[in-house]
Amino acid sequence: MNLENDLRRALHRESPAPGFAGRVIQRIERDERPARPVWWRAAAASVTLAAILGGYAVHEAAERRRGERAREEVLRAMSIASEKVRIARQEVRQIGSH
């Protein structure tokens, strides 16, 4: 057995999987894609913040309207109830006067 010849055979050059150069070029192009500038990130952050605040304001306004509607309904119900009590008292008084 000749170890040196065996080593030359065992360590012959082999090719990587097909498309190797393409994979390297893809990585280069990905690395070269320009990073978005700072102003772009600031603008994106502002839009996001505006959307969050806007959503919160809309939600608050809807909540306030719902609260006001509920309050009006309670007042109307109390007013109806009080009118009914007044009519009932009046009828009781009329019966009593007879």
Binding site: R8, A10, L11, R13, E14, V24, D31
Partner: protein
């Protein structure tokens, strides 16, 4: 024997175009040298996935340093040196798991005269060598480089390279003898 020292002549057309940012030209340069770079890493790690990863990293590094390449011979020297260094660095950082002797035992049971099996055994035993010996053996027998060429790539005195090579061969002979 391939000349490996940089000389300021013979800059191939593809390399010149690649230096001016032509990706197709750089792909040509890769295709010309991918087998050499990939095989250095593959024979060092005996792992195709890791070899692909390292070879890709080496070519990315080459792309970033294209302006410093002066000739085809310089390119060859640069690729061999960077690939070898990267393999050694990766091994030192991760201390990769060596193939266990149980695997070698399985190999022992198989037909010993079969070339493919002998190749597998040699690759397994090479993988178990210390990293610098692995690099020296791969450069010597894959790239057919003399110790005087290898010493420039691994940046060690030529006698140290010869000594690593001698010890690596002794170790491989011993292992092949222990697991005939």
């Amino acid at each position: 024997m391939t000349a490996i020292m940089p000389t300021a002549v013979d800059l191939p057309a593809a390399l010149t175009r690649a230096q001016s940012g032509d990706h197709d030209a750089f792909a040509e340069v890769i295709e010309q040298h991918e087998a050499m770079v990939y095989s250095l890493a593959y024979h060092f790690f005996n792992d195709r996935g890791r070899a692909e990863e390292i070879a890709q990293d080496v070519f990315l590094q080459l792309y970033r340093n294209l302006g410093t390449i002066e000739s085809d011979a310089h390119l060859l020297f640069w690729l061999r040196q960077v690939t070898t260094r990267r393999c050694i660095d990766v091994t030192r950082r991760s201390r990769m798991k060596a193939v266990s002797l149980d695997d070698a035992g399985e190999l022992r049971a198989a037909e010993k005269k079969h070339d493919a099996l002998l190749d597998r055994r040699l690759k397994t035993f090479i993988e178990q060598l210390p990293d610098i010996q692995r690099a020296v053996v791969t450069l010597r027998y894959q790239e057919d480089l003399d110790p005087s060429d290898i010493c420039r790539i691994v940046q060690l005195p030529v006698n140290t390279v010869k000594s690593h090579l001698h010890r690596a061969l002794q170790s491989l002979r011993r292992k092949l003898g222990e697991h005939p």
